[in-house]
Symmetry: C2
Subunit: 436 residues, 2 copies
């Protein structure tokens, strides 16, 4: 893989030189781990012969995407029009906006197409299709569309056998011989709850079958259907046969997270993103370590609550990347974190939630075995001022809490951090896009 | 109350003129409701004879704060140094940074004090106090400190009787006769879980007793202790006697939210903040309405999950402010929302979570009675393209998901929305601060 040109350090006069100079909480990104994650999926998809359409919603950073597309902009998926606009500014011209289109947004879509961006939208009902066709007739701007197929009851879309499929395709005909239909797309969202490789592989093949079946129905009815798009991080890493599929979408895998580790798609050492926090105090009676990183920095995501091992708001590492045995971030208020031992190994009081935000209700720690091999015991003594890293449940949500990534680099994943901890040089500060 | 000068509409060339011109999802703020909430607490605190130190962490907007301090900047609380810097730029000079101080941040604190901002920090251990005193001796910058008192086991702080209280005060002595100690502060965070006025009042008095006891211990030991600070939105609205207290902190009350409504501190019509979303599709078999507002727009906060009535990710209103009977936002992925009837009145399938973020585990809908008086029945037919408003669980978290507020104004709370729905004029677009 071609090594991309290093991005410049953030141009602010006070650009940090080492991690010690960055105020906590901040998002830390180990780019060697990103590179390894990117190479792993690339190798898989090369073997399957299906190209990647990266989902940009996790990283939302031109600098991160340079590590996915070292030879220049490639095909991407966006979750908002702001993302599409941001990446268009950076030269990306092949974009699928993969959230069901709100007809109010068509002028903004048209403005992107006017700039030369081949922006495709997503829909799953005739009201949207009719709005698109009417817009084409009124403005002359033809916005191509994918029909969303429901592979597993997860969210949006229609099942492949739904009579509405052909009605939507018909509604996309602007005039005889001119259709806005470009293909079909599905997302196997339920694969996030598949806990074995076999189940993830079966989900991948069900995802493929759903969308290929829909494409075949459309073609049998005389419609062109060039795009057959699937994707989720678990299915992308488990599919063994993608016959009939023209592209795979995935995004979370660039950073990975505890939810993905919890279902075995990656290991803890594959997590490229963490949040650096500082110890500010202790409640020794309760076994609590307090930090300056709360839910504003981690997000409120509690994705591992549904898994065998509930990781609270995240797993605690030292700055050099070692797991602190059985210490997790079990409580969060806006700008405070509470670290405790896992309840089953001596945590005396699940810290739960603060600020009345009440995900205390959601923090029912599992009885699953601790993953980190610690023995029951006392909360480790970690002095005020110590910095720690918290691995997040859900990379998309935690990254979305931050305006930028503080990037470290080394030859091997984790090597920059293992080498020098707080004095690690800051390789770069990369801004990311947020909001709409 | 003096009416503040209207803030200018956002200077962007494309500043929206009516709500119909703003792309969803966006944060909508009804400023007449803010004014009523502000007046209500002001009246209470005037009667108690204790001044307000507004917590700015909810609004994080100079424009909103103008409605709290119409005569110019007043005393505020900040949850981050970025907030302190932002409000200092706007002329606020009396700021308490109310998250336990990380000693690494003292240079940034000193820079604010050098600018003439009387910034006070918070601490609860001798390590922090020694770092402050050492900083004063080394740099000559005397950073005043409040000792955090634990009133209810909620989070940080020491109990009033803790021997460490006097040790911390001693450690704050820079040289004989010169101390950095300015007082004591507590936050009755557990009051968010008090469901009756009487319990909230008792929490307020326990909060007062904790901090007054600590102040008396410090004074008996020969320390000055001019500041005795309490605060939380529930206790601020329930305290009947604050003898010995010198200031009350509250912030959430400016907007209020479903968590506060759920414990009776406010009514639904007092909620000033909502998120506007657009219907993009339906799954009629499951009784789902899909929207373009997911957890990025609402936050992942599930604060009402711990309450008698679980409101999912939020209560659904029409644009004109009527509650849609028993319709709640029960599911969320990054940029999708799922609206369903409450499970107990016909919702066939709790939508739960998507994106593997798994707060599905946290969405165990309560068996409590529905609040909105709906009768069991079918999901209402709401066409694609319809805009709706979602009232949030937790104003701090939901506001923090947005870069700005789209503000509507009317003579009475809600009147601007009740009058004209989507064609309501945009009074202003107010930027807010995020991040650190």
């Amino acid at each position: 893989m071609t090594v991309p040109a290093p991005s410049p350090v953030h141009p602010a006069a006070s650009a940090p030189v080492t991690l010690a100079e960055v105020d906590t909480p901040y998002a830390l990104l180990d780019i060697a781990t990103v590179d390894r994650n990117v190479a792993r999926l690339k190798e898989r998809l090369d073997r399957l012969g299906v190209p990647l359409r990266l989902h940009a919603k996790t990283a939302k950073s031109v600098d991160v995407l340079r590590h996915v597309f070292p030879d220049g902009p490639g095909p991407i998926t966006a979750s908002t029009l702001a993302e599409a606009e941001y990446f268009a500014d950076a030269g990306y011209t092949d974009i699928v906006y993969a959230v069901g289109i709100d007809p109010h947004k068509l002028p903004r879509v048209a403005a992107l197409r006017d700039r030369g961006v081949d922006l495709t939208v997503l829909l799953d009902n005739t009201a949207q299709a009719e709005a698109l066709a009417a817009f084409a007739r009124t403005t002359g701007v033809h916005v191509p569309a994918l029909v969303e197929i429901d592979a597993d009851g997860h969210r949006a879309g229609i099942v492949p056998e739904d009579p509405a499929l052909l009605a939507i395709a018909d509604a996309l005909v602007v005039e005889p011989g001119t259709s806005l239909l470009r293909g079909v797309l599905t997302h196997a969202g339920e694969s996030y709850f598949c806990t074995t490789y076999e189940a993830q592989r079966d989900a991948a093949h069900a995802e493929r079958d759903a969308v290929v079946t829909a494409a075949e129905r459309l073609r049998a009815a005389g419609h062109d259907c060039p795009v057959v798009s699937v994707g989720s991080t678990p299915t992308a890493h488990a599919a063994e046969d993608l016959t009939g599929v023209t592209e795979v979408r995935a995004g979370c895998y660039v950073f990975f997270d505890l939810v993905m580790a919890g279902i075995g798609v990656c290991a803890l050492e594959d997590l490229a993103l963490s949040v650096v926090v500082t110890v500010t105090g202790h409640n020794r009676e309760k076994g609590w370590i307090l930090t300056d990183g709360g839910w504003m920095a981690m997000s409120r995501d509690r994705g591992t609550a549904a898994q065998e091992v509930d990781q609270g708001y995240g797993v605690v590492l030292t700055m050099t990347g070692e797991v602190v045995p059985d210490l997790i971030m079990s409580g969060a208020s806006q700008e405070h974190g509470i670290l405790t031992l896992r309840p089953e190994v001596g945590g005396r009081d699940g810290a739960g939630s603060s600020d009345g935000a009440g995900s205390s209700a959601g923090i029912g720690f599992s009885d699953g075995a601790a993953t980190s091999g610690g023995v029951p015991g006392e909360t480790p003594e970690i002095p005020v001022g110590t910095r720690l890293r918290i691995l997040p449940n859900h990379a998309c949500a935690t990254a979305g809490a931050h305006p930028r990534y503080c990037v470290v680099a080394g030859e091997e994943p984790g090597s920059a951090l293992a080498a020098a901890a707080e004095n690690t040089p800051v390789h770069a500060v990369w801004e990311r896009l947020n909001h709409w």
